[in-house]
Amino acid sequence: MLPIFAVGSRRTLNRLKALREQAYADGASRVVTRLEAIMQSLQGKTTGQIAQLLQADRTRVHAWVVAWNAQGPEGLWEGHRSGRPPELDASAQKRLADIVGSGPVAYGLNTAVWTSPLLAQVISEEFAVDYHPGHVRQLLGKLGFSVQRPTTRLVQADPLKRRRWMRYQYPNHKKKLTPKKR
């Protein structure tokens, strides 16, 4: 059987380098590996050699080269991976976001602060889904919520006096410090 090689010229190699940079920046490590394989193949390496070099499966490398020859770079992009469907679907997540957004008092709880164990309890009551508190935090992050903490500020300090010092008084003292130009 004859070995299979990727089809392309030297300019293709440069294009692949640019694509690899982009894939690297996007964090798509699988695409980076595939592009590397095609680059090696363009330079005359066989699929077996490439598989050894990249520590990939021999048949996969062959499949990448075939995909490249048939479809070009589009053949190497990540396809859709459905993954495991979430237990809370989109509408349930939206309802959860509403509950979180309107606060624990509106939900009828005697507290002003949402905590992840509390929310896990609410989720199990509302949607009959058991989530670990740690996962609740991940979910909240995905829904666009984040932890809010107060900043430190001196209550006794007078903001007006502080601003006056910073804007007028101290700059004036500094001006007097610097020797006058003649």
């Binding site: 001196l154 007078d158 010092w165 007097k176």
Partner: protein
């Protein structure tokens, strides 16, 4: 411990004592340490001090009045340690000489502190970075 820093030159002066601070000891510090260190003939020292109570006693104001030719005094706004350059030096001191250390005797603590202060006095470039925000 009393200390002062000249912002343009980065020159640090200090004095330590074992008894309590009051207006009299502050005046003594101004008279014996601060003024000789910073005063030059034909100029005035611009002193910026915080609102410690012993910085504002009548005796101190009287002293400032008597030395009006040599020194002008300004008060920082209350509760604003971040405007005080010396506070940054105390932070530096804590990091350099006392943080996370055990001292058997008070004398050892003093030794460690004085070593840091002497270093600050001698090599003003080591504390130059702390004064950057005040320029």
């Amino acid at each position: 411990m009393l200390g002062a820093i000249s912002i343009p030159k980065g020159r640090f002066v200090w004095r330590h004592q074992t008894d309590y601070f009051n207006a009299l000891t502050y005046v003594a510090f101004l008279e014996e340490v601060l003024l000789p260190a910073y005063y030059r003939k034909g100029h005035r020292v611009y002193l910026i001090q915080d609102n410690a109570s012993y910085h504002k006693k009548p005796e101190v104001w009287q002293w400032f009045k008597n030395h009006r030719q040599q020194i002008a005094v300004f008060l920082l706004p209350p509760h604003s340690p971040e405007f005080n350059a010396t506070e940054r030096l105390w932070h530096h001191t804590r990091q350099k000489s006392t943080h996370n250390r055990f001292f058997d005797l008070p004398a050892q603590l003093c030794q460690s502190l004085f070593a840091t202060f002497r270093e600050m006095e001698k090599h003003s470039e080591t504390i130059g970075g702390y004064l950057q925000p005040y320029f």
